[in-house]
C-alpha cells in the first residue's frame, strides 16, 4: 500500500483536521513534559482502577466525542442550509452522517451514561468500588481505544460511509471497498467488549455489594435504571458482537453471509442490527430516565411519586424492547400479519413510558420546585420527550410508517427522544453530580444561559424536520431542493443555537473552576440518596463506615435521624485494590491488532492478538489482592474532610 492511499488526501477540511490533531497532540505532549506530569498521568489516571476516576475519564472522552459529533452535525446543517451550496460533496457528506450517527450513539451517549453510572452507582448503594475494579479499567480502555480506532479513520484510510446502520449489501466488500467500513466494524467491536464487561460488572456490583439492609426495592431509582440497563446490555450486545463479526468475516475473509453472491442474505444484517439496535436505544434512555427521576425528586423536595410503578415500567420497557425490532423495516414486505404484530408491540412500549411521564408529573404535584440548572434540563425533558414519544407512536403505526420511513419525520422523532432524553440527561446529570466529582458547582447563571440556548435551538432545529418529512424529504440527502429551503434554513439556525449552548456549557466548566466557591459539605443539594452522604472530595474508599439502610431515600432518612457515614467506633481497616497498568497496555495491544485487521494485515493482527492473550495469561498468575487502608489513615482523612476536631468520636 502506498502512503498516499494510507492517509486520506485531497480534502482541505481533512488537511485542516490533520493539522489540528498534530497541533493538539504536540501541545499536550509539551505541557505534560514541561510540567513534568507524565508520571502523574500514568500513576493517577492511566493505571487507575478507582470507579470515580474511571467515570471522569469516561465523561471527558464522551464530551470530546460530543464535540466531534457536533462538528459533524454543524457541517451537515451548513450543507443543507442552502440548495446547491456545495460545501460538502456527496462522498464527504455520506462519511459525515455515518460518523455523526455512530459517534453520537456508541461513543458519546453510552459512555457518558456509563461514566455517570461509574461515579454514582457504587456511591448510591454504599459500596467501595465495583465488584471487579480491574475489569472496569479494562472496559474503559476498550471503549477508549475503540473510539480512537473509529475516529482515526478520519485521517488514515478513510471514514466509513454506509450509515450508522451499515445496511448490507451496501456496506459489504463489493459495494464498499477499502478500509472505511472495517474501521466501523472493528471500532464498534473493540468498544463493545467493554460495554458488555461493564454490564456484567455493574450487575454483580448492584446485586452483591449493596449496603447492609438495602433491599432491591429500596435502591435509588438511578441504580435501578442501571440494573435494568445492564440486563439489556447483557442480552443485546452479544447480538451486535455476532453481527459485526459476521460482516468482518464477510469483508476480510470472503464469507457470504450478507453478500449478493453465494446466496447470501443481505436482509439478515438489518434483522441482527436492529435486534441489538432497538434495545440499544433503550440502553441510552433508561439511565436517562433514572437521572431525571433523581433530579426531579431532589429539586421538587419531595419523594419520587410511584417508585414501584417507575421500577416496574422500566422492567417492562426492557422486556418489550426485545420484541419490536421489525418496526425499523416495516417496509421490507414481511406481510400484513407480521407488521401488525410488531406494530402493536411497538405501541405498547408507549404505555409504560406514559406511566413514567405521569409519575414525574405526580412528583411535581404538591411539591416545592427549585429551578436549578439540573432541574431545568429535567423539566424541559418532559414536554420535549412527549413530542418525541407521540411521534414514535405514529411511526409505530406500520401502515402510516410507509410514508414516514426513511424521511425527515423519522429524523425528527429520534432526535426528539435522543436529545431531549439522553443528551438533556447527560447535561443534567453532569451538573447535578458535578460538585461530588470536582468539589464545586457549575455556575448557575452561565448554566441557565447555555440551557436556554440549547433547548430553544433544539426545538428550532428539529421541529421543522417533521414537516420536511411530511413533504417527502428523505433522510441522508446530501443536498436540498429549493422547495425545502425555508424549513431547512430555519433548522440550520437552530443547530447553531445548540452549538452555542454547548460551547457555553464547556466554557462554564472553565469559568466555574476559576470562580465557584468550593463545597464544604458533601451534601451540595440537600440530597436524598447515599452519594451525598460522603464528604467532598470523596475519599478513595468512599465510605469510612458502611451505612445501614432502612428505607428508600436512605440519606434523607439518615439526616432525619442525625446519622453520618462516619462512625469512629466502627472503623475497620478497608481493603482496596491496587492500581494496574495492564488494562491500558492490554487494550492498547488489542487496538493495534484491530488496526492491523482494518488494513487486512492479518499476520500482524494475529501477532498483536497473541500478545494480548499472553498478557491475559500473565494476569491469571497475578495473585495481587490489593492492600488495606489502616484505621489511623481513615481517621486522619475523615477528620480533615469533615472538619472535625480530635475529640470528636462520631455518632
Amino acid at each position: 500500500m502506498k502512503l498516499s492511499e494510507f492517509f486520506v488526501t485531497g480534502e482541505p477540511l481533512i488537511y485542516a483536521g490533520m493539522v489540528a490533531i498534530v497541533l493538539v497532540t504536540c501541545a499536550i505532549v509539551f505541557l505534560l513534559t514541561y510540567f513534568k506530569r507524565w508520571g502523574w498521568l500514568w500513576r493517577e489516571w492511566l493505571t487507575t482502577v478507582d470507579h470515580k476516576k474511571i467515570g471522569i475519564m469516561y465523561i471527558l472522552s464522551a464530551l470530546a466525542m460530543l464535540f466531534r459529533g457536533g462538528v459533524d452535525a454543524l457541517m451537515m446543517r451548513v450543507q443543507l442550509a442552502f440548495p446547491d451550496l456545495n460545501f460538502l460533496n456527496s462522498q464527504h457528506y455520506n462519511e459525515i452522517f455515518t460518523t455523526h450517527g455512530t459517534v453520537m450513539i456508541i461513543f458519546m451517549a453510552m459512555p457518558f451514561l456509563i461514566g455517570l453510572m461509574n461515579i454514582v452507582v457504587p456511591l448510591q448503594i454504599g459500596a467501595r468500588d465495583f465488584a471487579f475494579p480491574y475489569v472496569n479499567a479494562l472496559s474503559f480502555w476498550s471503549f477508549f481505544f475503540g473510539a480512537l480506532l473509529f475516529n482515526i479513520s478520519f485521517v488514515i484510510g478513510g471514514s466509513p460511509d454506509a450509515g450508522w446502520t451499515s445496511y448490507t449489501p451496501l456496506a459489504g466488500a463489493a459495494l464498499s471497498p477499502g478500509p472505511g467500513q472495517n474501521f466501523y466494524l472493528l471500532g464498534l467491536q473493540l468498544s463493545g467488549i467493554g460495554t458488555l464487561a461493564t454490564g456484567i460488572n455493574l450487575m454483580v456490583t448492584i446485586l452483591k455489594m449493596r449496603a447492609p439492609g438495602m433491599k432491591l426495592f429500596q435502591m435509588p431509582i438511578f441504580t435501578w435504571s442501571t440494573l435494568v440497563t445492564c440486563f439489556i446490555i447483557i442480552f443485546a450486545f452479544p447480538i451486535l458482537t455476532v453481527a459485526l463479526a459476521l460482516m468482518t468475516i464477510d469483508r476480510i475473509f470472503g464469507a457470504q453471509f450478507f453478500t449478493l453472491t453465494g446466496e447470501g442474505m443481505p436482509m439478515l444484517w438489518a434483522n441482527l442490527f436492529w435486534m441489538w439496535g432497538h434495545p440499544e436505544v433503550y440502553i441510552v434512555i433508561l439511565p436517562a430516565f433514572g437521572i431525571f427521576s433523581e433530579i426531579i425528586a431532589t429539586f421538587a423536595n419531595k419523594r419520587l411519586f410511584g417508585y414501584k410503578a417507575m421500577v416496574w415500567s422500566m422492567i417492562l420497557i426492557a422486556g418489550l424492547s426485545f420484541l419490536v425490532w421489525v418496526h425499523h423495516f416495516f417496509t421490507m414486505g414481511a406481510g400484513a400479519f407480521v407488521n401488525s404484530v410488531f406494530s402493536v408491540s411497538t405501541m405498547l412500549i408507549a404505555v409504560p413510558t406514559g406511566v413514567k411521564i405521569f409519575n414525574w408529573l405526580g412528583t411535581l404535584y404538591k411539591s416545592k420546585i427549585q429551578f436549578t440548572t439540573p432541574m431545568l434540563w429535567s423539566l424541559a425533558f418532559i414536554p420535549s420527550f412527549v413530542i418525541g414519544g407521540v411521534t414514535g407512536v405514529m411511526l409505530g403505526m406500520a401502515a402510516a410508517d410507509y410514508q414516514f420511513h426513511n424521511s425527515y419525520f423519522l429524523i425528527a422523532h429520534f432526535h426528539y427522544v435522543l436529545i431531549a432524553g439522553t443528551v438533556f440527561a447527560c447535561f443534567a446529570g453532569l451538573e447535578y453530580w458535578y460538585p461530588k466529582m470536582f468539589g464545586h458547582k457549575l455556575n448557575q447563571k452561565l448554566g441557565k444561559l447555555s440551557f436556554w440556548l440549547f433547548v430553544i435551538g433544539f426545538h428550532i432545529t428539529f421541529f421543522p424536520q417533521y414537516f420536511l418529512g411530511l413533504d417527502g424529504m428523505p433522510r441522508r440527502l446530501f443536498d436540498t431542493a429549493p422547495e425545502w429551503f425555508t424549513l431547512n434554513f430555519i433548522s440550520t439556525i437552530g443547530a447553531f443555537g445548540m452549538g452555542a449552548g454547548f460551547a457555553l456549557f464547556v466554557l462554564n466548566i472553565y469559568y466555574s473552576y476559576k470562580t465557584s466557591p468550593r463545597e464544604k459539605t458533601g451534601d451540595s443539594w440537600d440530597g436524598r440518596t447515599l452519594e451525598w452522604a460522603t464528604p467532598t472530595p470523596i475519599p478513595h474508599y468512599n465510605f469510612a463506615t458502611q451505612p445501614t439502610v432502612k428505607e428508600l431515600d436512605a440519606f434523607h432518612d439518615m439526616k432525619k435521624r442525625g446519622e453520618t457515614t462516619y462512625d469512629e467506633s466502627k472503623l475497620k481497616p478497608i481493603h482496596m485494590p491496587n492500581y494496574s497498568g495492564q488494562p491500558f497496555i492490554m487494550m492498547g495491544l488489542l487496538f493495534f491488532s484491530s488496526f492491523a485487521l482494518v488494513f487486512e494485515w492479518i499476520i500482524l493482527s494475529a501477532v498483536f492478538l497473541v500478545a494480548v492473550l499472553v498478557m491475559m495469561g500473565i494476569h491469571s498468575f497475578d495473585y495481587d489482592d490489593g492492600y488495606h487502608v489502616e484505621v489511623e489513615d481513615i481517621k486522619r482523612t475523615e477528620r480533615q474532610l469533615r472538619g472535625l476536631n480530635d475529640e470528636h468520636t462520631g455518632s
Binding site: K208, I249, G254, Q256, G264, M265, F621
Partner: protein, 201 residues
C-alpha cells in the same frame, strides 16, 4: 461468616470475592448463550443456501461426529469428577482428571480440524456459500471456545500445582468447570441442530 458455616460452604464460595466471581461468570454465560443463539439463528436462516457448493447431507458423516460427541461428553464427565475431587480437597486426583479432561478436549479439536479439512477438500469452504459460511462460523466459534478453554485450564493446572487448593484457585477451577460444561451443552445443540438435521434433510 461463622466457622460452622464455613465448613459446609465449598472453598470457592467462602470469600465474597469468590461468590462475586462465580455470579459474574454465570452472567457471562448468559451472554454467551445469546451469542450462540444468534449464531444458531443465523445458521437456521441460511440453511439450504448452498449455491453451487455441496449439500450438507453429502458431506456430513455420522462417524466422526459421534466420536467427537463421545469425546466431549466424556470430558464433561471427567471434569465433573475433577470438581468432586476438589471438593474433597484431593489435589492430585483433581490434577489428573483435569489433564484427562484436556486430553479429551484436544482429541475433540483434532477431529474437528480433520473434519473441516475434509469438507474444504470436497469444495465446501467458508467462502463457497452462505450456508457453509454459517456452518464454519457456528462450529468454529465453538471450537475456538474449546481451544481457549484448554489454554486457560492449562494455566490453572499450573497454578494448582504451585499453590495447592486455596479459595482463589478453587474458585478459578470451579469457574472453568462451569465453562467446560457449558461448551458441552452447546455442542449437544450443534450435534442435533446441525449434524443430525443436516444429515437427514
Amino acid at each position: 461468616m461463622s466457622t460452622q458455616e464455613a465448613k459446609h460452604t465449598p472453598l470457592e464460595y467462602q470469600t465474597t470475592h469468590g461468590q462475586m466471581n462465580i455470579l459474574g461468570f454465570w452472567i457471562f454465560l448468559a451472554a454467551e448463550v445469546v451469542l450462540f443463539s444468534t449464531l444458531f439463528a443465523t445458521y437456521a436462516v441460511l440453511f439450504g443456501r448452498t449455491a453451487d457448493s455441496p449439500l450438507p447431507s453429502e458431506l456430513f458423516g455420522a462417524e466422526i461426529v459421534l466420536i467427537m460427541t463421545f469425546l466431549l461428553l466424556t470430558s464433561s464427565f471427567t471434569c465433573g469428577i475433577a470438581i468432586h475431587n476438589m471438593r474433597q480437597g484431593q489435589v492430585k486426583p483433581l490434577i489428573i482428571w483435569m489433564v484427562i479432561t484436556l486430553l479429551l478436549g484436544l482429541g475433540f479439536l483434532g477431529f474437528e480440524i480433520y473434519e473441516f479439512m475434509h469438507y474444504t477438500h470436497e469444495g465446501a469452504t467458508l467462502q463457497s456459500s452462505a450456508f457453509w459460511s454459517s456452518f464454519y462460523v457456528l462450529a468454529g466459534t465453538h471450537g475456538l471456545h474449546v481451544t481457549l478453554g484448554i489454554g486457560w485450564a492449562t494455566l490453572l493446572i499450573i497454578q494448582i500445582v504451585k499453590r495447592g487448593l486455596t479459595p482463589v484457585t478453587s474458585q478459578k477451577v470451579f469457574i472453568i468447570s462451569l465453562y467446560w460444561h457449558f461448551l458441552d451443552v452447546i455442542w449437544i445443540f450443534i450435534f442435533t441442530a446441525v449434524y443430525l438435521i443436516g444429515m437427514v434433510v
